[in-house]
Symmetry: none
Subunit: 427 residues, 2 copies
């Protein structure tokens, strides 16, 4: 990574509720998305409560280490809302009452038919030398302050107030500070662990070029490689820088990459099924419906998803899926034979191109030495054969459910890719 | 709330992905919940990327302003993961290779049948003077370091690793630093909107007492009222402060409260079904398996959940659920008649006490003027009658799925409560 001379950016979210177990600062995601496109990176995000001392310390630290400081929240009319006052005091500035602002605020209240309270008066004060930013969606005006070589932007906390204010009044001013153009590419991977992924690509890291950032992220059953390129010239130039590194990684990772777009595995499968006019039916035991839930999260999935069955009980496996009682007795419900029968029978009965069957032990109880928690058999039936895989997944109940469905979807994806390759060879 | 002499606590989340538009630090919510119970409040939350200089600056600042610093992430095997190294360097400590740790890590890989890669070796280094914290769910050990009057706790980033490690190895050590007793009571509500809830209880707010915090939270189909009390003496004393306000609110909200414990609606239903030896089967269309997924997220749900069907196609409604083709033709798949037939037939066919049927339009497409997106019919069959409700839910596809399943579960809950009341009256 090159150390370009960045504008160091810090996002400071103010509000005691953001320090409870219930609330996260989500505004920073919105701000980051827009800053990134201007080639600007956020270096620090800080959350602090409504205590003026703590807030003052955060403002001092931010003004020492950052060039652009976006402060959100604490602009309201209540006693807790002290951001404006604290910033002024910390920067040694006076607060000046602005008659015009006070009129705007009173006007807003009149329009909404609400009687204004004297406490709102404090929202009509501005920090000397700052530019007030009008708030068409609330009473708290924002503020743009340049002081001591730093830029402070004060923004309201509620998403429906901060977003329009940022887009209409802050972003145009930030264009002047644009540092270039940033483009991001994400390789999403299924079927590899994080360390396997690294083993395949880590020797490429030194060669990907100095102005490309790389991050590897892992979630159950999924790895993401994020590559970000920067150009001071144009978006095209930034895209071009990514071409070779992305190609090199794609070559190493091959079909383990299920998408280079910002989409989920179930959406990729949806496109593959749809494009070939294939259909799908599912028979789930331990995943209890998560597989069909994921498949049907994709808008338009009714075009290829025909039906699903959760055969939690043995009786349901027999009645809904025609799994012979003798098979269940001989091999047990958690067995490759039963997984295969589930997949084959849901396929045949529904008339779908493919059937997926999952049977296993999601835990936390129900495991034995021979069949432990995490043992999951997944079968894929279709196009003349049935493939069954044994898995031993780690994690809690929900993680095992998630990993099982990820594996099932990935088996189907690989089968679909294989069949497309075969078709192409035949042609 | 009273101003006590706090241990200043800072949570520092490390990872460049947390500075992108895609990821939030959610671990801090988990940590905060547990710290709060010890009467401890978080004063600062900081997010910083994988750049060692930035991380070092955050560690220095935290060690100046905070007493207890919880650092999460950046303990993995990759080149990006520099938290251990940076903390050691910042605090002027050496890193020491621990043969026993390396064996533990290798052992973990062997057990999973995965060949270990040399990059994992760095995870076997510990900061001198620190206590390593074993990680049963991953390869990255945590660490507890007391230095210069400050306590640093290094924790892995993935939730399924940090949570068990924090509970089993960090929380017991934090007991010594306990500052008091905070007790929280959560009233979880289904079947009311946020404003309806406020209408019922807001006149009680002034009377709940000065050292009780109240927060109302809304999510799709669910409202939560959180009441928090603090006592420096004992958990009992804090609990006692909550008794009267909770009783007053419970009286107003009645059966709209589905639990006063930290549990999901599906767990409440599980207990009610189980306690009465009732069983359940589900037939879903627009929710695509989310209902059975939620039901089967509850450990032990196989005791009462028999089976589920996702009848996405009309053919599946007919074949798997015996919904007459004539009914589908006459009223359409999204109709109260079809919802009722789905619920009744899955109940009869499975032999369950109750059957739930859901049919609707989750969108974004497929809506008409007569049957718009968000129109969802939900039927509950059992105990001699079938109840069908028409709903018009707002939101995107996933929100409509969520609201639909919430409503279905709540219909079942209210029915179960009614039947218990009837039983009691008969006795």
């Amino acid at each position: 990574m090159t150390e370009r001379r960045h504008t160091k950016i810090e996002v400071l979210a103010v509000g005691s509720e953001l320090l409870t177990p219930f609330h996260l600062d989500t505004n920073s995601l919105f701000l980051t998305r827009h800053l990134n496109r201007l080639g600007m990176q956020v270096s620090f995000k800080t959350v602090v409560g409504d205590k003026p001392d703590d807030l003052a310390s955060c403002i001092r630290i931010a003004s020492e280490r950052s060039d652009l400081i976006l402060i959100m929240g604490g602009l309201g009319p209540t006693q807790d809302d002290m951001t404006r006052e604290t910033l002024a005091a910390t920067m040694g500035k006076r607060l000046i009452f602005r008659e015009t602002l006070w009129e705007q605020i009173q006007d807003r209240f009149r329009k909404r038919g609400i009687s204004i309270s004297e406490v709102n008066r404090k929202q009509a004060y501005v920090i000397e030398g700052s530019v007030p930013l009008e708030n068409p969606n609330g009473t708290a005006p924002g503020s743009w302050l340049e002081s001591g070589g730093r830029t402070f932007v004060l923004l309201p906390g509620p998403p429906r107030e901060i977003q329009p204010m940022f887009l209409s009044l802050v972003l145009p001013r930030l264009q002047e500070k644009r540092e270039g153009f940033q483009v991001r590419k994400t390789l999403k991977i299924a079927g590899l662990t994080e360390s396997k992924t690294e083993d395949l690509i880590s020797d490429l890291y030194p060669g990907i070029g100095p102005d490309i950032d790389l991050t590897v992220l892992a979630s159950p059953g999924q790895i993401e490689v994020h590559l970000t390129a920067f150009s001071s010239l144009s978006e095209e130039a930034a895209k071009k820088k990514l071409t070779r590194p992305v190609e090199a990684m794609a070559e190493r990772l091959g079909e383990n990459i299920f998408t280079q777009a910002e989409e989920e595995l179930e959406a990729v499968i949806g496109k593959l099924l749809r494009g070939n006019q294939y259909t799908l039916a599912t028979a789930e035991s331990c995943t209890g419906g998560l597989l069909s839930h994921r498949i049907t999260n994709v808008p338009g999935s009714s075009a290829y998803f025909l039906e699903g069955v959760q055969s939690y009980s043995n009786q349901a496996k027999t009645r809904l899926l025609d799994v012979p009682a003798s098979l269940l007795e001989k091999h047990g419900a958690v067995s490759p034979q039963v997984a295969a029968a589930m997949a084959e029978n849901i396929r045949t009965n529904s008339g779908a191109t493919f059937g997926l069957g999952i049977t296993g032990i999601a835990g936390p109880t129900g495991g034995t030495e021979e069949k432990p928690v995490g043992l999951v058999y997944i079968a894929l039936a279709g196009m003349g054969n049935t493939q069954t895989e044994k898995n031993l997944f780690l994690g809690d109940r929900e993680t095992i459910k998630q990993r099982s469905t990820q594996k099932a979807l990935d088996m189907l994806r690989r089968r679909l890719l294989r069949s497309l390759r075969d078709q192409r060879e035949e042609e």
